[in-house]
């Protein structure tokens, strides 16, 4: 990996077309300062993969709907800093509606 990109592994599952969940890998350019998981997801959707389903709304912890798992731990995407080699998954794998959205989103 180049110095200025991070590797992100993201769970993908679209029940309409996929038999089961799988992971997709992305390389995301790192800004030269702290960026959030939310910024990273926004980059992926706007530039790499418009089909990625996740929730964003307020960016700063008011709506509390952007919770997901980063490396297994439940966090708010908007207030969590990105790290290299991170794995993103929905909070509840059993109730996925699509990708990172689950029933509780």
């Amino acid at each position: 990996m180049g110095e200025n990109t991070i590797k992100v592994k993201c769970l993908r599952y679209d029940p309409a077309v996929d038999k089961k969940p799988h992971y997709k890998k992305y390389k995301v350019p790192m800004q030269e300062d702290d960026m959030s998981v939310h910024d990273c997801l926004e980059y992926i959707r706007s530039n790499l993969d418009p089909s990625l389903a996740y929730f964003i709304n307020c960016r700063h912890g008011f709506c509390l709907r952007c919770s997901l798992r980063v490396n297994g731990k439940v966090v708010l995407a908007c207030e969590t800093k990105v790290e290299d080699d991170m794995t993103l998954e929905p909070v509840n794998m059993d109730t996925i509606i699509r990708d990172l959205w689950c029933e509780s989103t």
């Binding site: 679209d14 029940p15 309409a16 077309v17 800004q31 300062d33 702290d34 960026m35 959030s36 910024d39 959707r45 706007s46 530039n47 993969d49 418009p50 089909s51 389903a53 964003i56 709304n57 307020c58 960016r59 700063h60 912890g61 008011f62 709506c63 509390l64 709907r65 708010l76 908007c78 207030e79 800093k81 509606i97 699509r98 990708d99 959205w101």
Partner: protein
């Protein structure tokens, strides 16, 4: 009726589009009078739109504050509050709406207290001369509304986007919505519709709002034939976090500027100068938002901006333990009020810590829309059966919002909820006009059916680039002309060709939603640039470097946008005056600001 034009049908008396600060009270008051109400929200109640993110402050004149036991100032009165609002709004307000605002400010404060919204303080906000501001939290506000909505058992469709209104014989008879979770098209038959959809901040690359504010209400009202008013007025918030990225778009630096003792923050340019000394030496960083925004932008234009196009926000002068002390005081305040908002608990201490050794960056972000759907003091639009309350409406603020938006949305929401039931008794449900329904169905489904076309993410980037290049705080004729022509072309030629490029799955397909939202944002931005170009003066939030004077002889008028075969046509009309006559003559922008804000507590002067 051909079933293929929609997947589900719902019937109600009143459709309220939006569930928060304006939509909540609308639904609550209409439901209390026995109306069969349906709320549709693009997100989830208490977790969407602008209200959740409010500071939040509410306004109330001192006389009425005293009546409900708040420490109001007996020098204040409803009349005085009214006059301040009209003068500070540079005389473009509809004064009948301002009268209602003042009257309902008192009523709705009582509502909110009854609903359990806590009061942190009663103090000066918006630089008023005397205490008129009730401080609470946006999160606690919207949760208080949510409790009422649930108690009344008002039905709700969440994560559902209302796309267009249905009209028949010149009145609104329902709407068509898209269930974002399933992709189903819903036909809603209603006797009346209240739009409470907020602003269109996401049309700007740099804004302070949640991403769901995309001008849906303004655009659907326009398409249905309603008039819009003052769309060239967009208020920018200077001091919005620009860098680091994790803090981007947060307006938390404001709380460091609002202190009685003067601003804690120093705004610096790239040469380390505290540049507000040049633009408002008396009040410095506590000057009006408009002057701070213009000052910041002038520094950027002169090549003295910060690396990411703003100014440095510095706390280093406080010394590291001084910063710790201030954070400990804020923390006490948060603990005392049991306030756990992450922006305060996580982001604020992070910014304090970094500010000990670095200067972070702030800039001017699109923050509030004083204009919108033209309404009267009863929230009625130019179409029978269609009402608009809150930020999506226009008429209250004139050319700048000078008091609480939370009070505006609460007041107008309650008024709409009180007024609609009377209208609904007079009318019957009507079936939809089939050709209209077909047209809307086609507009919704086309992006999903099309195999090629314009990518929404690409168009979004190009639209945002225009806002960065030409539609910032300081505008001029040639830039506006370019922006207007390009935005109008994008709306007419590219927006109809938007298509979902990746997955055609109907469930939670944001690309699909964005196709629909872009059509709305482009329309709002087009009217904005058209209005700014036509208004050859500077007034309130509107500032043009080629017309830097406030021209009361020619421009003490409102712009009105009407729909002519789908295109916005601009005309002007005099503001509605009841008590305060607008002045005559031309003044420099600074003189006009001085005269409009003369009674404000100019903290730096004391």
């Amino acid at each position: 009726m051909p079933a293929e034009l929609y997947d589900r049908e719902v019937t109600c008396d009143l459709l309220v589009v939006g569930s928060e600060g304006a939509g909540g009270p609308t639904a609550i008051f209409a439901a209390r009078s026995g109306a069969n109400v349906l709320i549709i929200s693009k997100g989830k109640i208490s977790s969407c739109g602008a209200s959740q993110m409010a500071g939040a402050d509410f306004n109330l004149d001192g006389e009425n504050a005293l009546k409900i036991g708040l420490p109001g100032d007996d020098r204040d009165s409803p009349d005085r509050f009214f006059e301040d609002l009209v003068r500070e709004g540079f005389y473009l307000s509809n004064q009948k709406i301002v009268e209602k605002y003042v009257e309902y400010a008192a009523k709705n404060t009582k509502d909110l207290l009854d609903w359990g919204m806590p009061v942190y303080r009663f103090e000066q906000v918006h630089a008023e001369e005397m205490a008129r501001g009730l401080i609470s939290s946006g999160v606690k506000w919207v949760r208080a509304i949510r409790r009422q909505v649930r108690e009344l058992d008002i039905p709700m469709l969440e994560d559902t986007m209302v796309v267009d209104l249905l009209t028949r014989d010149g009145r609104v008879i329902g709407a068509v919505a898209l269930d974002l979770k399933t992709g189903e098209i819903i036909l809603i038959m209603a006797k009346a519709v209240v739009l409470c959809t907020g602003g269109w901040q996401y049309a700007y690359h740099f804004n302070t709002a949640s991403i769901d504010l995309t001008g849906d209400g303004q655009a659907m009202a326009f398409r249905a034939g309603a008039e819009l008013l003052g769309m060239e007025m967009v208020q920018y918030a200077p001091l919005t976090m620009l860098w680091p990225p994790i803090a981007r778009k947060s307006i938390i630096p404001y709380i460091l500027c609002e202190t009685e003792a003067g601003p804690l923050i120093q705004l610096l340019n790239s040469e380390g100068e505290r540049f507000m000394e040049k633009y408002d030496p008396n009040t410095m960083e506590q000057s009006t938002k408009e002057i701070v925004a213009i000052g910041t932008e002038l520094e950027v234009v002169a090549g003295r901006g910060s690396p990411h196009g703003g100014a440095f926000f510095a706390l280093k002068h406080l010394t590291p333990d001084g910063v710790d002390f201030i954070w400990s005081k804020y923390k006490e305040f948060l603990d005392e009020n049991k306030d756990n908002r992450p922006e305060f608990r996580t982001l604020l201490p992070y910014l304090f810590e970094r500010s000990k050794t670095e200067d972070l960056e702030v800039g001017n972000a699109a923050h509030f829309m004083p204009g919108g759907i033209k309404v009267n003091e009863l929230t009625e639009t130019s179409i029978p059966g269609l009402y608009a309350a809150g930020e999506c409406s226009g008429g209250l603020w004139g050319s700048v919002r000078v008091a609480s938006a939370c009070t505006q949305v609460s007041a107008q929401g309650r008024i709409a909820g009180e007024v609609c039931p009377g209208y609904m008794k007079e009318v019957e449900h009507q079936g939809p006009d089939l050709s209209k329904l077909e047209e809307i169905h086609e507009r919704i489904t086309k992006p999903l059916k099309s195999k090629e076309g314009v990518s929404p993410f690409d168009l979004l980037k190009r639209m945002h680039a225009i806002t960065e290049e030409h539609l910032k705080v300081i505008k001029d004729g040639p830039g506006l002309e370019k922006a207007y022509r390009e935005l109008s072309r994008m709306r007419r030629e590219e927006a109809p060709r938007l298509y979902v490029s990746a997955s055609k799955t109907k469930t939670l397909n944001y690309e699909w939603e964005l196709c629909l939202e872009l059509q709305n944002m482009l329309l709002c931005l087009e009217m904005y640039s058209q209005g700014c170009l036509t208004r050859e003066e500077s007034r309130g939030v509107h500032y043009r470097s080629d017309f830097p004077h406030t021209d009361n002889d020619n421009w003490c008028v409102n712009t009105v946008f009407s729909n002519q075969d789908g295109d916005p046509i601009l005309s002007t009309e005099d503001p509605v005056v009841t008590k305060v006559q607008p002045p005559k003559g031309k003044m420099s922008f600074n003189q006009a600001v001085e005269s409009a804000t003369a009674s404000l507590k100019r903290r730096g002067v004391e």
